[in-house]
């Protein structure tokens, strides 16, 4: 068994992993970047649509282009890249040297020792079982991401007459993609009264193609023995299904776009505590988990809607890992708490001595919303946020001016009113 040693190991080479690894290397530390796939970029290479990079690069790029700009930097750096390498064990808690075991066809099992770990494994799609759609189990039911892979990279068309369940962004993008390859997209079914994807995707992917979006509708059955033959859709009234109004849509393919879940199975094994709201690790102001020297960023921490923000957050995580490797620790950290109408706010702690970037998600849809900050129950300030909805992440900068004098017992509460 081969043994290697680095100052830091980044697990996952998508946008988050690449951004974090570049920061660590720039900070003067040795760094390995591991990914189970054979190429850099994570899920980006299959996202051939545009809309990436507006914040990060100031121009509109496709997923592969966005990934390539980062990959070029990584390849030009001294970051040690291990592709086709699957991490299957992390021992990180209460040890001086963290131990990571990974296997690859090229190198067999490698034991990697390091001081810091950055978790950047991304997320996975929720599937039919997770949302418990009853019915038969025919061929033709795919997650939207799998269909995206099949069409955009493998060059296959999974089916001809498509119903998309859930209005997540990948589902909307795939509704348009399937229309472009000549398939008929019969409908998009969304259980909530509002779409769960970005507004721009509703307009560009559904409205422009006359694809009906059924809001407040639940998929209550999938029919078909060998291949999908149709779905049953039941409208909801006041949140409860009305079986009398159920209708059937014939189709041969069902694509599921019903949410993303951070992939934290390895994190759990490493002893990392998770936040029940985000399904990602609980992190402090330095994006460090409860396990000393283990950081998290990107979609493994919480699901983002824009890769630009993934990269931004990951750079922060990389810098914090560098500071940690140098022995720097925040002097004091106060708590950040999700208040009214806020699903979650990340990170869980803030450093009153510097600027902190806060990411939060709304629980409500509202026009003319106001974001309210309270420190120890005292209103600090309010910001007008215009239209808010759960699918659009809200970001916020909190600095020393806001948190002056805050000690480790202080609580900053963010609310949407």
């Amino acid at each position: 068994m081969k043994e290697l040693r680095y100052d830091a190991v980044v697990i996952g080479a998508g946008a988050a992993g690449m951004a974090a690894a570049l920061e660590i290397e720039a900070g003067g530390f040795t760094c390995a970047l591991l990914d189970r796939e054979d190429q850099l970029g994570g899920i980006l290479p299959q996202c051939i649509h545009n809309g990436f990079g507006l914040h990060e690069f100031g121009k509109e790029l496709t997923g592969p282009e966005f990934a390539e700009l980062f990959a070029e930097k990584v390849l030009a750096s001294k970051v040690s890249i291990h592709l086709g390498a699957t991490v299957f064990s992390i021992n990180a808690q209460g040890v001086a040297d963290k131990e990571i075991l990974c296997s690859s066809a090229a190198n067999g099992v490698i034991r990697i020792l390091c001081r810091a770990v950055v978790l950047a494994m991304g997320c996975r799609e929720r599937n039919r079982g997770n949302i418990r759609i009853p019915g038969s189990r025919p061929a033709g039911v795919y997650t939207a991401g799998l269909a995206q892979r099949l069409v955009n990279i493998e060059g296959y068309i999974p089916g001809r007459n498509v119903v998309v369940i859930g209005s997540g962004d990948i589902g909307l993008i795939m509704a348009r993609r399937m229309s472009w390859v000549g398939c008929s997209v019969k409908a998009v079914i969304e259980i909530m009264p509002y779409p769960s994807g970005l507004t721009r995707n509703i307009v560009q992917c559904l409205n422009d193609f006359d694809i009906p979006l059924h809001l407040s509708c639940q998929t209550t059955n999938i029919y078909g023995k060998d291949r999908v033959e149709g779905v049953e859709v039941t409208p909801l009234e006041n949140g409860a299904p009305v079986p009398d109004k159920a209708f059937r849509i014939p189709c041969d393919t069902v694509l599921l776009s019903v949410g993303l879940v951070p992939e934290n199975e390895l994190s759990k094994e490493a002893g990392v505590e998770l936040n029940a709201m985000t399904n990602g690790p609980l992190v402090d102001s330095t994006l460090m988990t409860n396990v000393d020297g283990v950081f998290a960023c990107g979609n493994v921490l919480h699901v983002h809607d824009l890769v630009d923000w993934v990269a931004e957050e990951a750079r922060q995580a990389g810098r914090h890992a560098v500071a940690w490797l140098k022995g720097e620790r925040p002097k004091v950290q106060c708590r950040l708490k999700a208040g009214s109408n806020v699903r979650y706010a990340n990170p869980g702690r803030l450093d009153p001595n510097r600027k902190n970037k806060v990411y939060l998600r709304s629980l409500i849809v509202k026009n003319d919303a106001v974001l309210e900050l309270k420190l120890n129950n005292r209103i600090l300030r309010s910001e007008k946020k215009g239209h808010i909805q759960p699918s659009e992440m809200i970001t916020l900068s909190v600095g020393p001016a806001d948190l002056e004098g805050a000690d480790s017992d202080a609580v900053l509460e963010v609310s949407l009113v």
Binding site: S89, R132, A139, E154, Y156, P158, N221, D226, E265
Partner: protein, 491 residues
Amino acid sequence: MSKNSVLPETSGGKNDVYDVVIVGCGVSGANIARRLSVYKIHVAVLEKETDVSFGTSKANSGIVHGGFHHNRKYLKARLEIQGAMMFDRLRRELDFPFRRCGIIVAAMHEDEMKAVEHLYMQGADNGVIGIEMCSRERILDLEPKLSQDVVGGLYAPAGGIVEPYRFVFALVESAKKNGVAVYTDYLLDGAEWDAATSTWTLHAADGRSLRARYVVNSAGLYADEVSRTFGAEDFHISARKGEYYLLDRLTKARPSRVVFPVPTAVSKGMLVIPTVEGTVLVGPTADATEDKTDLATTSMRLEQILDSGRKMIPSLSRNDVITSFAGLRPVLDEDFYIDASKKAPALIQVAGIQSPGLTASPAIGEYVKDLLKGIGLELTEKSDWDPFIDRHPRVRESTPYERDELIAKDPAYGNLVCRCENVSEAEIVEAVRLGHRTLDGVKYFTRAQMGRCQGGFCTYKIIKIIMRETGLTYDQITKHGNESRVLEGEL
């Protein structure tokens, strides 16, 4: 006669004459085939599906029962007790996932303790080793995840868990290794008896045919139709559906033993099962259905499963659900019907094999062998019968050092295809080379697509491996055979 038999050729051609043809390759057929592979006879198994174990044997609780649920007056109880004892040796020979984790029956109310006592006495009478009555304290000690409302129960330490399809695959692999021919996609369409040669001629729907001196009808849900095809007894197999939930291996609700409720008159109730492979199964329900292909789950039943499971193990959470599925029990009578046909010559009926069929199946193999002998089949043991099959290494079960050695021998062991269940490319290739050429076949053999992402990440990789290994084109790749095509076009 058997001494004239030659080892089978796998052509399925018209001139093949088999000493025994087994119709149906579920767990009964597979056990019978493997048992008969010991002898110098020419044996074939016919399966109408595209892979073996694709019927009742793929979707059930996977329990090796404790021998206390049925009275010894029933054949099924006697075969259950005998079969249960045969699993340890089979596991050593065939290396399928099986573990004696023990079975608990949890009584949630004082009134239920009467029934528990009855089960205990029945078990003791059946000769079950180690069976015990448990106080509340004892049962909570045995299974701390039980509800605090439990009042007591029963413990059968020898009960166990098995992966049913892997058991069938291993039996079939062993049978094939010892000369048994297996024909899949072989839908029996007709049969004639030729009195002059004392042979049956069997016809498949696709035109294939073969001849047999003896026939075993182990056709599960379709044993009634097969019986009629041979002009034998007219009986009716009805289907009773059982729905299940499968939970993630990281659930906090995984018990260490199989947990049964106190049974009712019609069923053993809904169980919480820690599968051998680390996930948790909750179910089954029991509903009669007219359609023998109806494997649909229903929202009402799925809710009942969770409610019922939670009464025993309160930490069961819908958030841990990975998937749901349904299986069909072939229901005939209260007991199994295993006997030589009184109407058709040279035919053994193996019908109505519902619970505890999986447990009983090794004993069914033994029993059917004796029945065949009873109606004239000559059985002489082969000198070179090999009870063992090759081990199939699994990276998830290997230590890091073993894994490193595997990769050194074959780098494909280092290429992880299924991240949720930790399945390497080499294991997928092995499944395909053993004949599992559908997505479901690969799933049951390797566990790839069976974990928390349900194939979201690995399906396209598996499709590519099947195409590469078999030369099948994209439109020939199916989920489970027939018309279950996975891809409908190319760009």
